[in-house]
Symmetry: C2
Subunit: 152 residues, 2 copies
């Protein structure tokens, strides 16, 4: 096998895993946070804070400010429930919170669909290259823009 083994979550248990992860950290799992996570998880491509604010607003039937969404996204990112896609100024839900990786995003410039790889050998190589240059890596950003299989 050699590759990392993730168990998969259906959308129900992903939600549960996210809640557990947060509560284990001593953070609360509020209605608002649940709503933001649910909205984020529904996107199959990176969603901006504003996309999410709009989705949650619609779902809740009242206006949710982007502001609040940012706060919650920051919490999610620092808790590994979500990741930020730097080259898209947007966020994706982490499909396996609990597993910690420097993940590699593949973002389709045509349809926007984004997948991600966990290749610790590659990301380790990047960290090593940085270290060799006297640089203390805290967060590698590895993203690939291009065309996905469906679009090529």
């Amino acid at each position: 096998m050699g590759k990392h083994d993730h168990h998969l979550h259906d959308s129900e248990s992903l939600h549960d895993a996210a809640r557990n992860r947060l509560t284990d950290k001593g953070e609360q799992w509020t209605e608002m946070r649940a709503a933001v996570f649910k909205a984020l998880a529904k996107f199959d491509r990176p969603a901006s804070a504003y996309d999410i604010a709009e989705a949650v607003s619609k779902a809740e039937g009242r206006r949710i400010a982007a502001n609040s969404v940012y706060r919650i996204l920051d919490l999610f990112v620092s808790s590994n429930l979500a990741m930020r896609v730097e080259s898209a100024n947007a966020y994706v839900a982490n499909q396996h919170p609990g597993c910690l990786h420097d993940c590699i995003f593949l973002i389709c410039d045509n349809c926007g669909v984004t997948t991600h790889l966990d290749d610790d050998k590659l990301s380790g190589g990047v960290r090593q290259a940085a270290a060799d240059a006297g640089f203390e890596a805290s967060r590698p950003v590895i993203e690939v823009r291009g065309k996905c299989g469906d679009c090529s």
Copy 2:
């Protein structure tokens, strides 16, 4: 040696190399473009379009709109005279236009100083991993946030 060998430019000949690169492509090397390149090259860290607009405005003694700077930066990026640092929403001058690499940025979160590595083996690995996933890579983005040697 094994590593790629770049000849270095002093700031005079870097300017020349940039001009040549652009004119060879059939593009004009205008006063404005020269001014933007010069301003960009002076920064030792990624500069936003607005930073550059301000620097050029000061140098020219008149207001340059960010707008115009974006146009020129887009041209520079597509001509390999400059690169965009995605995780900083900012740009850096390419110290060796003419050489084409998927470069790797090391961005210090403390002082902002940014260096870059050209490691074709690593970036090739990223491209290969994408290809293995059925993804046609056009532009790998490899950046490392962390602390530079001087700040650690």
